[in-house]
C-alpha cells in the first residue's frame, strides 16, 4: 500500500502547491492591478481613514480634505470648477476620476516614496497621512484657457515643450466636484445622475480624449512631417494645383476651402499648401506618400499609444486598410482620423522642441503632509518622431501660416508665433470641429498649445478654426509668455 500512499501524498502535495501558487498570484503578483480595479472600492474606503493629501496648483490647494464632524472625519473640497478636468472628483459613492483616481496611491500615502513613513506607522499604530501633489499647471494659463473657452464646448491643452510640463488643461462644459464629494449619498447620487444624463456631457474630459475629434487641417502637419521624413520632399516640392481633384476610383471631388486654386499657378509648394491650408495638394501628397508612411509618422508622434500624464489619454487613431480615395481624405484630417487635444499639443510641442517629444506630465512633485519633498518629476523623452531638420522646416511653415497665411488669429502680438488651424467636417449638416495648434515664441519656445472647439462653436458650419479656436490659443500663449 505504501506505493499508493506515496502517490496520494504527491497528489495532496500538488493540490496544496496549486493553492499556494493561487494565493501568491492574487495577493502578491497581481495584487496591484486588482487593487486598482475601479470596482474594488476598498482603496476608497481606506482613503477615508487618513487625511487625504491635497492637490496644489501654485500655492493654492485646488483639492483638499477638510475636517468634518461625521463618521468620515474628512470632507473633500474643491476650490473651483476650473480645475475639475485635472483633479476629477473623489466621491464616497461614485468612486474617483482624474488625478483623484490616478494619484490615489500618493494622496492616500500608499506610494513607495512614503515607505519609511509606512514602516513607522506600522509600529506606531498611526496612519500615514496622504502626500500632497504639486502640479505643473500654471494658474494664469489655466485661467486664460478657462476664460477664453467661455461657454463653448471644447478643450485646451498647453505644454512646455522643453520639459513636457502641462501648463493648462481645460475641458468644457465641466462640473463642480464639490457636488459629488458630499457625504450624503442621496444628494451625491442625484447630482451624479444629473451630470451623467446632461446633454452637454460634462463628465467627459475632452482634453485627454474622453471624446476624440476629427482633426481636419491640423493633421496636415503630420502629413508634411511624413513627406519630409521620407526624404523625397522638401517644403519647396511642387504639387499639381487644380481647382478640384477627383479622388481615384470615385466620383468625389476634393476642393480647397476657398473653392479655388491654392494661390496662383498650376503647381504649388508644400509650404504654401500648408500656409493656405489647401486640401487638394495634400490629398495628392497623401496618396503619393501612401497610408503606411502617414500612419507610421502618426504613430511616431504617439497615435495608437495610451499616454499616462498620469491621467490616461485615449490613443488617437489613424485608420488602416484604406483605399487611395480614403487615404486622400485622411491626408487632410478627414475620413476616420480621430485625435485628442493632448496628442495635438504633444505634436506641436515636439516640433517646438526640435523634434524631441517630451513625456507630458501633470505632477511636478510629491510632498509629504509636512511639505517635505518626496519626489520630483524629472523630464523624460518619449522619443524623436522627427529630425531636427524636419522640425525646423515645419516651424517655418507654421510661422508662415500665422504670419501670412490663414491661421493669423493665433498670432501673439509682438512674438513670433507658429501655428496651424483646422476646420473638420463631421458629415452633412453636422457642425464643424474647430482646431488650432501652435507654439510661441518660435525661438526657444515656452509654450505649445492645442485648442479644440466642438459643435462648431455654436455656429454650425460657419465657424472656422481661425475665427474661434485660434484666439483661445493666443490668449493661453499670451498668459504663459507674460508671466
Amino acid at each position: 500500500m505504501n506505493r499508493q500512499l506515496n502517490r496520494v501524498s504527491a497528489t495532496v502535495g500538488a493540490m496544496f502547491f496549486a493553492l499556494f501558487v493561487a494565493v501568491t498570484t492574487v495577493q502578491f503578483i497581481s495584487a496591484d492591478s486588482l487593487t486598482n480595479d475601479p470596482r474594488n472600492v476598498r482603496s476608497v474606503y481606506d482613503s477615508y481613514k487618513t487625511q487625504r493629501g491635497a492637490i496644489f496648483v501654485g500655492n493654492q490647494a485646488v483639492a483638499y480634505s477638510a475636517k468634518s464632524d461625521d463618521v468620515y472625519h474628512y470632507l473633500r473640497k474643491y476650490s473651483s470648477p476650473m480645475y475639475s478636468s485635472v483633479t476629477g472628483f473623489f466621491s464616497f459613492f461614485q468612486g474617483a476620476t482624474g488625478l483623484e483616481a490616478t494619484g490615489n496611491d500618493y494622496l492616500t500615502g500608499k506610494n513607495s516614496a512614503q515607505f519609511f513613513e509606512q514602516i513607522n506607522a506600522l509600529f506606531s499604530g498611526n496612519s500615514v497621512s496622504g502626500a500632497n501633489l504639486r502640479l505643473t499647471i500654471d494658474p494664469k494659463a489655466q485661467a486664460a484657457a478657462w476664460n477664453a473657452l467661455g461657454n463653448l464646448t471644447g478643450a485646451v491643452v498647453a505644454i512646455e515643450p522643453k520639459t513636457g510640463k502641462i501648463l493648462a488643461l481645460v475641458s468644457k462644459p465641466t462640473f463642480d466636484a464639490n457636488w459629488l464629494a458630499g457625504h450624503n449619498g442621496r444628494i451625491s447620487a442625484a447630482h451624479y445622475k444629473h451630470l451623467l444624463n446632461a446633454k452637454s456631457e460634462p463628465l467627459i474630459n475632452r482634453a485627454i480624449g474622453g471624446d476624440l475629434y476629427a482633426p481636419g487641417s491640423v493633421f496636415k502637419i503630420v502629413v508634411a512631417a511624413a513627406a519630409f521624413e521620407s526624404g523625397k520632399y522638401t517644403p519647396l516640392s511642387r504639387i499639381p494645383n487644380p481647382v478640384r481633384y477627383q479622388l481615384p476610383g470615385t466620383n468625389t471631388f476634393v476642393m480647397n476651402s476657398t473653392e479655388g486654386r491654392c494661390g496662383v499657378g498650376s503647381t504649388v509648394t508644400i509650404a504654401d499648401a500648408l500656409r493656405l491650408s489647401c486640401n487638394v495638394p495634400f490629398a495628392q501628397l497623401g496618396i503619393a506618400l501612401g497610408q503606411d508612411a502617414i500612419r507610421s509618422q502618426a504613430e511616431k508622434f504617439g497615435f495608437g499609444q495610451t499616454l499616462h500624464v498620469p491621467l490616461t489619454v485615449t490613443p488617437s487613431t489613424y485608420p488602416s486598410g484604406m483605399d487611395d480615395a480614403q487615404t486622400g481624405l485622411s491626408a487632410f484630417g478627414q475620413f476616420d482620423d480621430r485625435v485628442s487635444p493632448m496628442q495635438m499639443a504633444l505634436i506641436a510641442a515636439t516640433i517646438a522642441n526640435g523634434g524631441v517629444a517630451m513625456q507630458p506630465n501633470l505632477i511636478q512633485s510629491v510632498q509629504s503632509s509636512n511639505f517635505a519633498t518626496l519626489s520630483t518629476t524629472t523630464p523624460s523623452q518619449l522619443g524623436t518622431p522627427i529630425s531636427a531638420k524636419t522640425a525646423s522646416r515645419l516651424t517655418k511653415m507654421m510661422i508662415a501660416a500665422v504670419e501670412s497665411g490663414v491661421s493669423y488669429n493665433g498670432k501673439v502680438p509682438g512674438v513670433s508665433t507658429a501655428g496651424k488651424t483646422g476646420t473638420a467636417q463631421n458629415g452633412p449638416g453636422q457642425p464643424y470641429t474647430l482646431w488650432f495648434t501652435g507654439f510661441a515664441p518660435t525661438k526657444n519656445p515656452k509654450v505649445a498649445v492645442a485648442v479644440v472647439v466642438a459643435n462648431g462653436g455654436g455656429q454650425g458650419q460657419s465657424g472656422r478654426g481661425n475665427t474661434l479656436a485660434a484666439p483661445i490659443a493666443r490668449a493661453v500663449m499670451q498668459a504663459v509668455l507674460n508671466r
Binding site: 500500500m1 505504501n2 506505493r3 499508493q4 500512499l5 502517490r7 496520494v8 501524498s9 497528489t11 495532496v12 493540490m15 496544496f16 496549486a18 493553492l19 499556494f20 493561487a22 494565493v23 501568491t24 498570484t25 492574487v26 495577493q27 502578491f28 497581481s30 495584487a31 486588482l34 487593487t35 480595479d37 470596482r39 474594488n40 472600492v41 476598498r42 482603496s43 474606503y45 481606506d46
Partner: protein
C-alpha cells in the same frame, strides 16, 4: 510522572508504563500556544473595532479553550498515544474561524445588521467537540466500525439523499444541500462523507483482491473485470445525481474523488482512477452542456472580471469581491479588524478564506494552508504507519477527504477551480461542517492511538 526514570516504581503495572503520555505533553504545550494565539486574535479584533477589550472576549475564547482542555484530558485517559499535533491544529483553525466570524459580526453590528454568527459558531464548536469527545470515549477501538460497513453505506447514501426529500429539503443559494426544520438547518452531506469513508474502507478491504484481479486486456491496458465496475458505476451515478439534483459540483467532486483515491489505494490499480476520472469529466461536461448553472459557474470562473459575468445574477460578483479583498490585503494583510471583508457576500462562510486573506495577508493564508497540510499529512502518516489495512484505508480516506475539500473550496475562492458550495473545514460558519470535521478529528486521533499501542505490544 512522564519521566521514564520513575518506571521501576510501577513495574508491577506494565500496561501503565506503556501509556506514558509523552505525546500528550507535547499536545498540552502546543494547545497553550493555540489558545494563546486565539486569545490574541480576539483581543486584536476588539481593539481594532471597539478600541477596548470587553467582557465579550471571554464568550468567544473561554468556552472553546476549556473544551480543548477537556478534550486533551479525555485523550490522556482514553487515547494517550494519539497524534499530538492534530488537536492543536484543529483548535488553531477553529479558533481562527470564530475570531474572523466575530470580527465580521462586529462589522454587521456597526452597519446595523442583525444576522450574527459568532455566538452560534461557539455553541456549534462546543457541541462538535463534545461529540468528538464522545466518539473517543465510546469508540475505544475503531475496528468495530468494520462490522457496520453496510449500515454506513445506507446511512451515507441516506444522508446524501435527504436534502432532496420534500418538506425538509432546503435550497440555499441555488444548491439543494440542506435539510431544515423551522429556523434550524443542517447540511447532511457533511456527515455523509464520514459514513461513506467508513463504507469505502470496509468494502474495499474486503473486495480488494477481486477488484485488483485482472480482466481482459484491451489496447494494451488491462481492464478490471466487468462486474467489478459495478460499484464504480454506482458511485458515479450517485455523484452525478448530486450534481444534477442538488446543484453542487463541489460535493459531487468530493465524493467521487474520495472514492477513486480509496479504490486506488486499496487495489493499486491506476486504471480505476483513469477510467473514473474520464467518466466523471464526461458526465460533468454533459451536465455543463445541459444545465445552465454549471456552464454559468464555469464561465464566471474563467472570465470573472468580465462585466457581464460580474453583473449577472449568480455571476462572478462574489468571487471577484473576494479576490479584491485578498489582493487588497496583499502580503501582510490589513491586520485583523483593519479591512472590510464584510463587503463580500457570505464572508463568514463560503468566503471566510478570502476574508482572512484580506486581514492576515498572504503570510497568514500560507500559515492556514500549512496547518491544513500538516493536518492532512498527520492523517496520511497514520496510513503509512498502521499495520491494519482497514485502519490505513480509513485514515487515508478521512485525510484525503479533508485535503480534497480544502482544495475544492479554497481553490474555488482563489480561482484554481470553479466556485462551489463546500465549506472550509473548521473555519467557515456552519454547524454541520464543524460536527463532521470534529468527528473526523476524533477518528484520526483514535486510529493514531492504536499505532503505537500495537507497536509496543509487539515488542
Amino acid at each position: 510522572m512522564a519521566n521514564p526514570s520513575t518506571a521501576p516504581l510501577t513495574t508491577a503495572k506494565p500496561r501503565i508504563v506503556r501509556v506514558v503520555p509523552r505525546n500528550r505533553n507535547i499536545e498540552a504545550l502546543l494547545l497553550i500556544f493555540a489558545v494563546g494565539i486565539n486569545a490574541f486574535e480576539i483581543a486584536q479584533i476588539q481593539l481594532a473595532a471597539l478600541q477596548q477589550l470587553t467582557s465579550e472576549f471571554m464568550i468567544y475564547w473561554a468556552p472553546v479553550s476549556f473544551a480543548a482542555l477537556v478534550l486533551h484530558l479525555t485523550l490522556r485517559r482514553r487515547a494517550s498515544n494519539a497524534d499530538p499535533l492534530i488537536l492543536p491544529i484543529a483548535m488553531l483553525l477553529n479558533g481562527l474561524g470564530i475570531s474572523m466570524i466575530y470580527r465580521l459580526d462586529l462589522a454587521t453590528v456597526a452597519n446595523h445588521g442583525a444576522q450574527l454568527f459568532a455566538g452560534k459558531q461557539v455553541i456549534w464548536t462546543l457541541l462538535a467537540m463534545i461529540i468528538a469527545g464522545a466518539v473517543l470515549v465510546y469508540v475505544p477501538n475503531h475496528l468495530f466500525l468494520r462490522r457496520y460497513v453496510f449500515i454506513a453505506m445506507f446511512v451515507g447514501i441516506g444522508l446524501l439523499l435527504t436534502p432532496m426529500l420534500p418538506f425538509i429539503g432546503r435550497n440555499i443559494n441555488g444548491a439543494q444541500l440542506w435539510i431544515g426544520i423551522g429556523a434550524f438547518t443542517f447540511q447532511p452531506g457533511e456527515l455523509a462523507k464520514i459514513a461513506l469513508t467508513i463504507f469505502f474502507a470496509g468494502y474495499l478491504v474486503n473486495r480488494r483482491e477481486s477488484l485488483a484481479a485482472v480482466g481482459r486486456k484491451v489496447l494494451g491496458v488491462q481492464l478490471p473485470r466487468a462486474r467489478e465496475l459495478g460499484p464504480i458505476l454506482t458511485i458515479w451515478v450517485a455523484s452525478l445525481a448530486v450534481l444534477v439534483f442538488q446543484h453542487d459540483l463541489g460535493t459531487s467532486l468530493l465524493y467521487f474523488g474520495l472514492f477513486l483515491v480509496m479504490i486506488y489505494v486499496a487495489t493499486g490499480r491506476a486504471i480505476y482512477v483513469g477510467v473514473g476520472l474520464g467518466m466523471f469529466v464526461t458526465g460533468a461536461l454533459i451536465a455543463a452542456k445541459i444545465m445552465s448553472y454549471v456552464s454559468g459557474r464555469v464561465d464566471a470562473w474563467l472570465n470573472p472580471f468580465d462585466q457581464s459575468n460580474y453583473d449577472a445574477v449568480g455571476g462572478s460578483y462574489q468571487l471577484v469581491q473576494g479576490i479584491f479583498g485578498m489582493a487588497h490585503g496583499g502580503v501582510l494583510g490589513s491586520g485583523l479588524g483593519g479591512g472590510v471583508p464584510n463587503l463580500v457576500p457570505l464572508a463568514e462562510s463560503d468566503f471566510i478564506f478570502a476574508s482572512l486573506g484580506e486581514e492576515i495577508g498572504m503570510v497568514g493564508l500560507f500559515a492556514v494552508l500549512a496547518l491544513y497540510l500538516l493536518w492532512v499529512s498527520r492523517g496520511l502518516r497514520i496510513g503509512y504507519k498502521h499495520s491494519d489495512d482497514f485502519s490505513r484505508l480509513l485514515a487515508t480516506g478521512l485525510s484525503f477527504v479533508i485535503a480534497l475539500q480544502v482544495f475544492i473550496v479554497i481553490g474555488g475562492v482563489t480561482r484554481v477551480v470553479p466556485l462551489t458550495g463546500l465549506t472550509t473545514p473548521l473555519l467557515a460558519a456552519g454547524g454541520s461542517s464543524l460536527v463532521s470535521n470534529w468527528i473526523i478529528i476524533a477518528l484520526l486521533l483514535r486510529i493514531s492511538d492504536s499505532i503505537r499501542t500495537k507497536a509496543k505490544v509487539a515488542e
